[in-house]
Every structure is written in C-alpha cells, then in structure tokens.
Symmetry: C2
Subunit: 401 residues, 2 copies
Amino acid sequence: MEVVADEFASSQATNDQDYVVTPWQVKGNVDYDKLVEQFGTSRITDELLHKFKKITGEIHPYLKRKIFYSHRDLDWILNRYEAGEEFFLYTGRGPSENVHLGHLIPWIFTKYLQDKFGAELYFQFTDDEKFLLGTKPSIDSAKKSAYDNLLDLIALGFDPKKTFVFIDTEYMETMYPIAARIAKHITLSMEKSIFGFENSTNVGMIFFPTIEAATCFLPSVLKGKNIPCLIPAAIDQDPYWRGIAREVAPKLGFYKPAQIHCKFMPGLGQGGKMSASQPETAIFTTDSPNVVEKKVLSSFTGGRATVEEQRKLGAQADICPVYHYYYYLFEENDKELERIYNDCTSGTLLCGDCKAMLAERVKEYVIKHQEKREKAREIVDEFIVADVRGGLKKRSTISRG
Amino acid sequence: MEVVADEFASSQATNDQDYVVTPWQVKGNVDYDKLVEQFGTSRITDELLHKFKKITGEIHPYLKRKIFYSHRDLDWILNRYEAGEEFFLYTGRGPSENVHLGHLIPWIFTKYLQDKFGAELYFQFTDDEKFLLGTKPSIDSAKKSAYDNLLDLIALGFDPKKTFVFIDTEYMETMYPIAARIAKHITLSMEKSIFGFENSTNVGMIFFPTIEAATCFLPSVLKGKNIPCLIPAAIDQDPYWRGIAREVAPKLGFYKPAQIHCKFMPGLGQGGKMSASQPETAIFTTDSPNVVEKKVLSSFTGGRATVEEQRKLGAQADICPVYHYYYYLFEENDKELERIYNDCTSGTLLCGDCKAMLAERVKEYVIKHQEKREKAREIVDEFIVADVRGGLKKRSTISRG
C-alpha cells in the first residue's frame, strides 16, 4: 500500500507546501498538523487516550508520543468495544524488495492492538497494485516479494489463529465480488478527484482502489454480519478510506471503517521519511549487522560543526534522525528518552557516542528480528488464507466435502 | 456479453445512420455492410468458404447464407489449422433472465465448429458486467441467470470434455491476473475512444473490458503455450477484440484472437433484432408451446394490405421476420427455402399459412430444446470449471494433493 512513484503525485501537490502525501508518494518534510486539516481527520485527544487507558490499562508509547496521532471514528469504535461489540483490524502492504524499520511501526502497533483487544487482523498484500503501478515488472515478482515481506510480519508475533493474510491475485474469487459492489458506486470522476488519475492512467489502477477498500467489508461479508473495522496505517493511505470505503459503506449497508493514522519514521538522511528508494538511509530488516552499523554511523545528525560549538550550544535533537530512532523504536522508556534529549541538546552527549549507542541497539534488534524471521518460514501456511485456484478442473472432479 | 443499455450508446451513434451497434446496445436496422467498413473487419469471401469446404467437407448454412459474414484473421487461423496447429473457441454471454432464439445462433455455429475442428470451447458468463451495468440488481441474481442460461448452452450438445464454462465472479483467481496484465497496457483514454466511457461511468465497467478480453489468452496461460483463439460471436462485440485483446496481444506475447462475426436474428416485430426487452416479439427457449404459437401468429410480416393485393403483387419476404425465421433456423434446405421465398413473393403463399407452418416448426424446436434443457441440469458440473473459493480456510488446513 505504501509506494513511491511519481505518476500521480503532481496533481496532489499544492503550491504552498514543500511536501507531498499521496498513497503512492510521500516526499518532503511532512506537516502532520496540516495533513489533519487537509484530509479532514481528527487529532487523537487526551480524552481518547484516557479511554484507551480505561480499556487497556495503559497508554502505548506510540500513542503517548503521538506517532499514532490522527484518526477517524476511533471514539466510535472504542465505544462499541466497551458495549461488547468486537472489531477487526485491517492493514496491509504493497509488497516490495525490502521491508525497512519504518514499515514495522504500524505493524508493531497493530500487533499490540490485536493483543489488547483480541481482534482479528486481515492483512492484504497488494501485489496487483505494485505490478499495475510499474514498480514491479510482473505479478510473479510482486507476489514473491509478498511472500518475503510476510516473514517480517509473522516475525512480529501475530496470533495465527486471529490473523488472515492474503495476496490480492491469489484471493480474487473472494475479493472481486466485493470490489465490484464498491466499484458500482464509484465513478471515474470521483476517483479523479480523490487520486488525481488522468487519461494516461491504466484501467487496472483505476479499478484497484476498490480492491483495497474491499477488505474493510471482507469479514462482514464472509461472516454474514456487520463488523466494525479499525485500520492502523500511515496517514498517506487515508484517501482510500475517505474517498472510497467510507463513501460507499452506507450504500452497501456496512459500517464506515475507522482509522488510526501514524506518522512516517524518518530516514537517516536529512529530512524525509525512511524510504527503500534511498537504501543508504533506510535500515532494512535483512541488513547484516555490519551494514546496520555502517548506516547508523553514517547518519545525518542534529550536531554542530565542531565539538566546541556543540559543547557550547548543544545539538538539535528535533531535526536529528538518530534521536528520532530512539523516539520511534529504540527507547521505550520515557525517562531514558528524555535523558537522551537533554544530554543531546545541552551538549553533554556528542553525536559519535549517540550514534554508536544507537547502532548497538539497532543491530541487536535486527539480529533478533532475523532469527524470528527465519522461524516464520515454517508457519507461513498458518497465516495465508487458502488460494485453491480452479484452473481447468471441472467441478464434477472436485470433492465438495 | 450482449446487453441492451443506453448508458454508452450516444457516443457511438453517428448522425448519418439510423442504427446503433455497441457491445451494450443494438438498435435500428443495422447496415451490416457498413459495419464491416466501420469496424474495419473483412467480409468472408468465396475463397474462404472454399477453404472451409476443403477442411470440413461442406459449407454450413450460416456461412452460405452469410449469417456469419465478417471476420478477422479467419484465413490465418484456417491456415494454421491446416498446418497442424489447433485453435480454441471462445464465446460467452452476459447472463439475463431469458435466452431467446437469437442467442442460440452463434452457439449453434460454435458447437458446429467444435465438432468439425475438435476445438475446445471456453465460455464466459459475464455476471459482473450485468451487475456493473445495472441490468442486474445484484451479482447473485446475475449468477442465478448464468446457471439458468447455461442449461440452454448444454442443451445444444456441446462436448463436456472439450467445453469449459465459467462465471466471472467465481473464476477471478484465474482471470484477474490475466486481466491485470492486459489492463496495464490499456489507458483510460484508449477505453474512452473504444467504448465511449465518460466521467460518470463506474470504475467497475472501466476495468471490465480487460476481463472479457482475458479469455482470449486464458488457455495459453493455463497450458503454458501460445494457442490460436477463434471467437464466434455477434458483430457488436468486436470493440473488445479490436480495441483491447488484439491491441494488447503482441505486447503480452500472445496471438491476436481471430473472429467470425454473425448478424442478429430479427425479432417478430417490424425491423430490429430479437431482443428480450421486447418479449412479445422474441421467442424464449422457455416459452410454452402456446405462447410460441401466439407470438409467431402475431408476427409482423411482409404481407400486403389485402389478400387480393397479395395475390397480385406477392408479399415482401426480404422485410418479413417470418421468412427470416426460416432463413436463420427453421429451414436448412436451400431448395425448400427458395420455394418458400418464391411462393411468398409470387403471392402463392399467404401470410396466415406461412405463419402457421412456422409456428409448428418453432413449437417443435422449443419442445425438443426444453427436453434437452431439463436433462442438462444433471451434467452442469461437467461443464463448469472449479470455483473452490478460499474463504478464511488457511492453507495449512487444505490438502494440496
């Protein structure tokens, strides 16, 4: 679902800002506050955090730190939950060569929600999207990446009993009829205004948004009852939910899917999110410890030109990816994080030491993740829903038991 | 595949003609010669008929009578066949409440081609199209019609070993990846110019043409080798093959599908093709003998105002649907047909007698068809390819034998 491509970007960018956020492109220094207004989402208020605490007994660091900071109908879904109505989780990925740490953020939080709310997760790999966009040369290569990326997902510890993974092109007998019901209510002009599609857009991409939206209603269709849906995902995916799924839901008699939106983990360069297209500034889950160390030690920082200057003025943690790595993933303890921030900005902690400390933590994280990733290979089939393709077998030859 | 709907008609009609032929609408008195020029197809020449005779030992009445009159690459496919390369047949139907005799014409000829060339037939029911166009209120109702219409197909005697029937929404795991490969090469502007789609068109209809085109390559994909395709169908479907399948074939490494096009059997009213939307002038395969008789006896004819006038001037067989019924389906013997024509135009045969004779033949045909149609129920599964939907079963629970 998260992709970098130039095709549809131009029509979404406006002149008075230096960033672009669409489902296919995120670039520049994103103004997250402005995005909330632009997309018409809501900020997660203190009141909402208290409701979370009331239910889960705690406030997850991602919520406290406003990494997950925006939502649609989160209050509604928590109220429903308190009243005894369970919801399911939906998130996904546009499969690509490498999963990086930034991709893990929404998944880690999704796993947390699954644990705390006992919720089923429906996870969609959009191999068709990657092929239709042209970021993958063939469906097979996109599918291959999906199977590889899936190992990262499983490594995070999702409950196989409650997790249903599918790859679009292998699950279309189930998905297409739902997508068609959605598509009937979505005109070309609606999609043009949501996604900026043009006459040169291929007709596969024009149909695709209905497939991504279909998962919002999948469990309701399969189980024959209306089940609330909560989508934890980066905020760039919002147009799908705002423009397609939420638009169509009442017409099909389904609940509008609720969302909880996160920010993008930054890359190790100066500004911008972590991106596989800049591999030197992204930590991939399959990077060797040596590579991880090299990347972290080569990171841009908020440091000053000289040690003397830094001792005097302190460094700039707020613009420093190294600090943000602690913030996002490598220092859960708020007091410790505060100490790093203070030591940095007061000039006590120098960038070299700070990077060396982070490098150790990232290496340790990646090594452990890779162990779990290898073990995941054995249980892939416990996550993927069946894809028994019909081929040319006649029904009369198939056991219907 | 053959549908009557107004949505896309306007952009296809031109001012200097009084008919409209699009995949979704056929109306007025079609000028078939003009269509050949308009669509850029080729007429079936005497040379081609001789080639047919050389291979099959005969010339089918539909060819002799130019009911099948136009083609693309038919010469190529017959040459290939003579050189030892087999082809497959592809045709289909947009399922609707009732199959009428006009629908049977291309199927009867397809069955003949299957017998003579030993060719496999791939038959597509486009339930999705009917739903997306709005002629069916739900996918389920379109699917229900498909299962019903299938009985008419089977009743014609197709070889179950060589006939593969599928209903789009039940076969998407196989079809969608092929459609996506096609869709990647088809832009919105291409489709706009082929089909006249507009901003108000729903995005399902915009994707749909790639699904209809996908069947042209289905056996090649499933069998892993390039197999020539011959599509026997009414000429209104040509835009799919011309604009989508033939356009994309070389880009995907497939043969361009060949086609053989038929005219429309007329309705029993004055002018126009047989159409389910004018039930009083269409003979449905499920009509009771009484209803058949009533419809035929109420037919418009080429008769004169009075018996005297008709005895003197003769009737006008060329504009008479009753005569056309003999021509299309109820008098295979050319000499007998000629006799009817001469007796009609010379004033010997009066319309009442002619209609009564036809009514008997149509009744007899329909009664026999209905018997075969009932027997067909028992062997449906020998025709339909498997549609084992995945649902939420995990792969680990599925036997992969």
